[in-house]
Amino acid sequence: MLPNWLARPALAGLGLSPGYSFILYLALIFNHNLNFLQFTFENILILFFSLLAVFGALMMVTRKNPITSALYLILNFFCVSAIYLLLRAQFIAIIQVLVYAGAIMVLFLFVIMLLNLHDESKLSEKITYKKLSAILISLLLFSVLAITVYFSYMNKYREIHSSAETIGTIEVIGNELYTTFSFPFELVSFVLLAAIVGAIVLAKKKFD
């Protein structure tokens, strides 16, 4: 049996978050703004949100009540989104909120609701190798991120591509979406229509 402090991150399957935020924070300091000592307003904001994200992630994995955990996870998502925004990746920031804080979080809450988990005591009786593999995967992600940060620190990727400043903006994405990708964009509406019709068909008890 694993010690409880180790098992908990694995339990939620989201033990990745703390490492993730921490690495993002490191990446910011070492890489993005190039100068650690420059305390501009922007840097202070990034630092603030990074610390808040780490805090949210830590609280998420240490709370006993799953719903409290979920709420802290939302805090973490919003902080990460704010960091994206400060990095001028507006689109990713919005998608982060929409997809993670919106869709995926609602799914989590549904699961919590349906399983009727009052606390996680039942979950901690689950098999050990699952926890172990969750931890291994977390470590793997951590090492991948760490290597990336290390290489950027070693001046390898320090040159920022000229298009990087503009590519994340909504204007660029919107422009592409409504010209080159206008046809796939329209097709998505049909995919969604099929999905909606299908969901109603399957969810409805009886046709009358």
């Binding site: 046809f183 049909f190 099929a194 019709v197 068909v201 046709f207």
Partner: protein, 503 residues
């Protein structure tokens, strides 16, 4: 410029537009009918007929891409459009004639809407030249087929089938998306022509590329139910309503093949090199060092061997047909290994033939389950004496599926094996032939039960309405005629090999 491009695209996009409108019309119209009606079925037929008409108008259209290089209009996609509409049309008729569906208390409007959506997805799968488009088209047809598989929720089996289908489909489309993202990461583009240009001009890490190809094969393999992505097939085919099973085994398989062929040939062609023709045999030039035909060969052999061997033990007719359709996919993949126009035209010929014989087999199975209330082969003893027309047609389909001369299936197999032998893949041809012999056993087993054993108990003749007989003959006669008079079909297949962007 932008408007011009889109208007120009729309003028070559009538069949798909008609299908889209049909979906919307079906969803709306039956809101005005209180009782269960067939109106939506007729609308679906009308929509398919109109789409067919406008597809025929595209017969001599020069190969080109529309909508900013998203969709190709070429003889290759034309072939698949004709195939998909034909199959859609027959499936609507099957649905009309199936007791399983008629007796259910469900209204069928969404059923037809989803059927047309699956056909539309198939159209786009056959013609997309952009990985993003490919994925969306795949999702459109997959989402519709998940729901169709579980549409008649009366039986637990049907719901189980739908659930299994969703889970397998979700996983494999996720894998495929990952593969697409890797290819995008390597080549910096989603456009197949740009991918081919990039790969031909720049050295890339072949291992990453191979991983990406394997991941993408998960998506294709799941659509055509090739080993090792076939696990869903028997359960889903067994649990789904029979017309849906027939649809899955023909339409979505054909669309999957179209996508597979176009993706591999266009994206991995060696763009920098001129076409080489040796000894009168034209071959597509693929990237050096990337051994995807070998991978396909292994998958093809595994697919047909597994399909045929496991089919021997089945006594449920639907399960047997499921394994047989896995094996058939193996034969078709075999022809893809030679990477030449001859191989592709053999594949297309086989697909067209497969449409008739497989749909025919499923229709005969529908009729047997209507009248005899059984899907078990052991319970079909002697029914050849009670309904001769049905069982003789079934015999035609079975013999054709196993590839006996004088049937269309023989022509299909003949072209595939001759393409293999002409290109020096004699071992593959021998394995294919051996598999055909194995398959003969289980196809004949059905016929043995039907004809060689006298019926016990009730021996009265069981006959069908005229509509059933006409449709049965409409499938059985082409299966024989195409086995004797196959010139036009093979000409059409040879013409349809022209894929946009390939010399």
């Amino acid at each position: 410029m932008l408007t011009q491009q889109i208007l120009d695209g729309l003028s070559k996009f009538y069949p798909e537009t008609i299908l889209s409108v049909t979906i919307l019309v079906i969803v709306f119209v039956e809101l005005f009918f209180k009782k269960k009606t067939r109106v939506s079925g007729w609308i679906a037929m009308a929509g398919l007929a109109a789409a067919m008409l406008f597809t025929f108008l595209q017969v001599n259209i020069p190969a080109q891409t529309i909508f900013f290089q998203m969709v190709a209009v070429d003889p290759f996609s034309y072939f698949f459009k004709v195939l998909l509409i034909l199959s859609g049309f027959l499936i609507v008729l099957f649905t009309f004639l199936s007791d399983e569906i008629r007796s259910s208390e469900f209204k069928t409007q969404e059923y037809y809407a989803l059927l047309i959506a699956l056909t539309l997805g198939g159209f786009l799968m056959a013609s997309s030249v952009n990985l993003l488009m490919m994925y969306l088209a795949l999702e459109l047809s997959s989402l519709s087929s998940y729901v169709l598989a579980g549409y008649f929720k009366k039986s637990n089996r049907s719901s189980e089938a739908a659930l299994k289908y969703v889970i397998y489909g979700g996983v494999s489309s996720g894998l495929m998306l990952f593969g697409i993202s890797l290819i995008y990461g390597i080549c910096g583009s989603l456009d197949m022509f740009a991918i081919s240009a990039y790969l031909s001009a720049n050295p890339v890490n072949l291992i990453t590329l191979l991983i990406a190809i394997f991941l993408m094969l998960a998506g294709f393999g799941y659509k055509i139910s090739a080993v090792p992505f076939h696990f869903w097939t028997p359960d889903v085919y067994e649990g789904s309503p029979m017309p849906v099973t027939a649809l899955l085994s023909v339409s979505s398989k054909a669309a999957g093949f179209a996508m597979l062929i176009r993706f591999f040939l266009v994206a991995f062609q060696n763009a920098g090199h001129p076409t080489i023709t040796t000894e009168g045999l034209h071959q597509y030039i693929t990237l050096p060092g990337l051994h995807w035909p070998e991978v396909i060969a292994v998958i093809a052999v595994a697919t047909m061997t597994l399909g045929n061997v496991v089919a021997i033990w089945q006594d449920n007719l639907k399960r047997l047909l499921a394994y047989s359709s896995i094996a058939q996919a193996g034969y078709m993949l075999l022809a893809f290994v030679v990477v030449s126009p001859q191989g592709i035209s053999a594949m297309l010929t086989y697909l067209a033939v497969y449409l008739f014989m497989n749909l025919g087999a499923f229709f005969a199975a529908i009729l047997i389950s209507n009248k005899y209330k059984t899907e078990n082969i052991e319970e079909m003893k002697g029914i050849g004496y009670r309904s001769p027309l049905l069982c003789v047609s079934m015999a035609v389909f079975m013999l054709s599926l196993s590839g006996i001369p004088m049937t269309a299936g023989f022509i299909g197999k003949f072209y595939i094996f001759s393409a293999l032998i002409n290109n020096g893949y004699i071992w593959l041809a021998i394995i294919g032939l051996m598999n055909s012999v194995v398959s003969l056993y289980y196809y004949i087993k059905i016929l043995k039960n039907m004809f060689l054993i006298r019926p016990q108990g009730d021996t009265g003749a069981v006959s069908f309405g005229a509509g059933y007989s006409v449709l049965l003959l409409a499938l059985a006669i082409p299966t024989i005629v195409l086995g004797i008079f196959f010139g036009p079909l093979t000409k059409f297949a040879e013409y349809s090999v022209q894929i946009f962007g390939l010399k």
